[in-house]
C-alpha cells in the first residue's frame, strides 16, 4: 500500500481548472507550502479554495491569489492581504465567509460520511439567512452541509508510506479534518518514514484517508505575528 509520489508537481498533476480544493493550515501555520508552489507553477485557474484563511500577499494562498488562480475563497477570516482586498472589491474574486467552527465541522462531517450537522453558530445573524433553523431542547441550530471537495491538500509533520499522518503542535488545526474530507487527499510531510515506524496509537490521520504522500522540501514556515516577551 505505497502511496508515495515523487513530489508536489506529480501530486497535483490532475488538479484541473475549476476544481474545488481544501487547503489545510491556520494563518500561515501548517500550510502545504510545496503543493501551493506547485499549483502556482501549474497555473491552474478558476479554483474554489476552502481554507480557514487566505494567506498573506507574498505567502501561502496569497501566492495563488497574486496569479489570479482563485475564483472563490471559502474561509472564516481573510484579513492581512492587500491583493485579496483589491480583487474582492473589483469583483474578480468571490468570498464566502463562514464561522470557523462551522468550517471545521463541515469538514468533519464529510470525513465521517454525515451529510449535514447542526450548529448554533450564526443563528440570528446573516450567516443563518436561507438556512434551515431547527430547535432542539429549546435552542436553535443551523443545519450546515458537509463539504464536497475534489481535493484536499494537507501538511503534516511526519507521515509514512501508507499515508498515516502525525501533525505537530498547532500546525494540526484543519489539516486532519480536510485530510478526511477530500475525494482525493494529498499530503506533504516534513519527514517521510517507512510503514511501521510511526506509533499506531499516535497517528492522527489514518492512511485510508490519504491517496498521495511525499516528503516536502525547503519549508519556510513563515511566522505571521512574531510576538515575544521580555525576560
Amino acid at each position: 500500500m505505497n502511496k508515495v509520489v515523487a513530489g508536489p508537481d506529480v501530486a497535483i498533476a490532475d488538479i484541473m481548472d475549476g476544481a474545488t480544493l481544501m487547503l489545510g493550515g491556520f494563518g500561515l501555520c501548517g500550510i502545504p507550502e510545496n503543493c501551493i508552489a506547485a499549483l502556482v507553477r501549474k497555473q491552474v485557474r478558476e479554483l474554489t479554495c476552502i481554507s480557514n484563511n487566505a494567506g498573506v500577499d507574498d505567502f501561502g494562498i496569497g501566492l495563488m491569489l497574486a496569479q489570479r488562480q482563485v475564483k472563490k475563497m471559502i474561509s472564516s477570516y481573510v484579513g492581512e492581504n492587500a491583493e485579496f482586498e483589491r480583487q474582492l472589491l473589483s469583483g474578480e474574486l468571490q468570498v464566502e465567509l463562514i464561522p470557523q467552527g462551522t468550517l471545521a465541522t463541515r469538514c468533519l462531517a464529510a470525513g465521517y460520511g454525515m451529510p449535514a450537522i447542526y450548529t448554533p453558530a450564526g443563528v440570528g445573524t446573516e450567516v443563518g439567512i436561507g438556512k434551515e433553523v431547527r430547535n432542539f431542547e429549546g435552542k436553535d441550530y443551523l443545519m450546515e452541509m458537509a463539504f464536497d471537495a475534489d481535493f484536499a491538500i494537507v501538511k503534516a509533520w511526519k507521515g509514512d508510506t501508507m499515508g498515516n499522518l502525525i501533525y505537530r503542535a498547532t500546525a494540526r488545526n484543519f489539516n486532519p479534518l480536510m485530510a478526511m474530507a477530500g475525494k482525493i487527499t494529498i499530503a506533504e510531510v516534513e519527514e517521510l518514514v517507512p510503514a511501521g515506524e510511526l506509533d499506531p496509537d499516535a497517528i492522527h490521520t489514518p492512511g485510508i484517508y490519504v491517496h498521495r504522500i511525499f516528503q516536502g522540501t525547503g519549508y519556510e514556515k513563515r511566522i505571521e505575528q512574531r510576538t515575544v516577551r521580555s525576560v
Binding site: 491556520f26 501555520c29 509533520w157 498547532t170 500546525a171 514556515k221 505575528q225
Partner: protein
C-alpha cells in the same frame, strides 16, 4: 478616571474561578492572562487547537508551529494538549469552556453582540467569534464604553450586523461593569471617579441602577 485596558483586564480576571477553562479573544481579553490570581488553576484555550496556552516566547524561542488564534507565537504550559479545529469547537459547543472573553463593537441591552462586520468596510470575517458566542456558557465582553466619536456602544439594539443573539452575560468597559439582565444593563460597579450620571449619559440601552454602586478599586 476611566479604566486603562490593563485595568479592564484586571477586573475581568476577578471573574475567574479555580479550575476554569477560559477562551480569551484578541485585544483586551488577551491581557486577562496577566492577572490570573496566583495559585488559581486556570487553563487557557486557544481555538486553533490548544489547551494550556502559556506566555509569549522569549526572543529566539519562537516556534512557527505554535501560535494562538491571533496568529501570535506562544508557548505552552505543563499538561497542555493539542487537537484539531473540529474538536476545539466541539468542546466549545459542548459547553466545556467555562468562560469566554471577547471584544465588541456593540452590545445590546438584551445581550446581542456585533463585532465582526462594518457595512461598507472591507469584511475580514468572523473567525471563531460566532461559534464562541453561540456556544459559550458565560460570555464577558471587554470594550470601551463609547466609540472614538463618543457614541455609546451599549445600545438598545445593535446597528451593525450581529455576531450572536442574547448571549453576552456581562460587559466590562473603561467606565463600568454591567450585567445583562431581562431589564437591560444592570450597573454593578463604576470606574474610580466616574459618576453614575456619566455612565447613564454614555449608555444608550436600558440601564438599571439600583442601590449603592461601588467604585472599582485596584490594589
Amino acid at each position: 478616571m476611566a479604566l486603562t485596558k490593563e485595568q479592564i483586564a484586571q477586573r475581568i480576571a476577578r471573574e475567574l474561578q479555580q479550575g476554569y477553562y477560559v477562551n480569551l479573544g484578541i485585544g483586551i481579553p488577551t491581557l486577562v492572562a496577566n492577572y490570573i490570581p496566583s495559585g488559581m488553576d486556570v487553563v487557557l484555550q486557544s481555538e486553533n487547537g490548544l489547551l494550556g496556552m502559556g506566555p509569549f516566547p522569549l526572543a529566539g524561542q519562537e516556534d512557527a508551529d505554535l501560535i494562538n488564534a491571533g496568529k501570535q507565537t506562544i508557548t505552552t504550559v505543563k499538561g497542555s494538549v493539542f487537537f484539531d479545529s473540529a474538536l476545539s469547537f466541539g468542546m466549545i459547543r459542548a459547553g466545556k469552556v467555562n468562560l469566554t472573553v471577547l471584544g465588541a463593537m456593540e452590545v445590546s441591552d438584551c445581550g446581542d453582540i456585533a463585532n465582526w462586520k462594518i457595512p461598507g468596510k472591507m469584511v475580514k470575517g468572523m473567525g471563531g467569534a460566532m461559534d464562541l458566542v453561540a456556544s459559550a456558557r458565560n460570555i464577558i465582553v471587554a470594550m470601551m464604553h463609547t466609540n472614538p466619536k463618543g457614541e455609546s456602544k451599549l445600545l438598545p439594539a445593535c446597528t451593525l450586523p450581529l455576531t450572536g443573539v442574547r448571549c453576552v452575560k456581562k460587559v466590562v468597559t473603561d467606565l463600568a461593569v454591567l450585567d445583562i439582565t431581562p431589564q437591560g444593563f444592570r450597573l454593578l460597579e463604576r470606574a474610580p471617579g466616574v459618576s453614575i450620571d456619566e455612565i447613564r449619559a454614555k449608555t444608550a440601552g436600558r440601564l438599571v441602577v439600583e442601590g449603592e454602586i461601588p467604585e472599582l478599586r485596584f490594589d
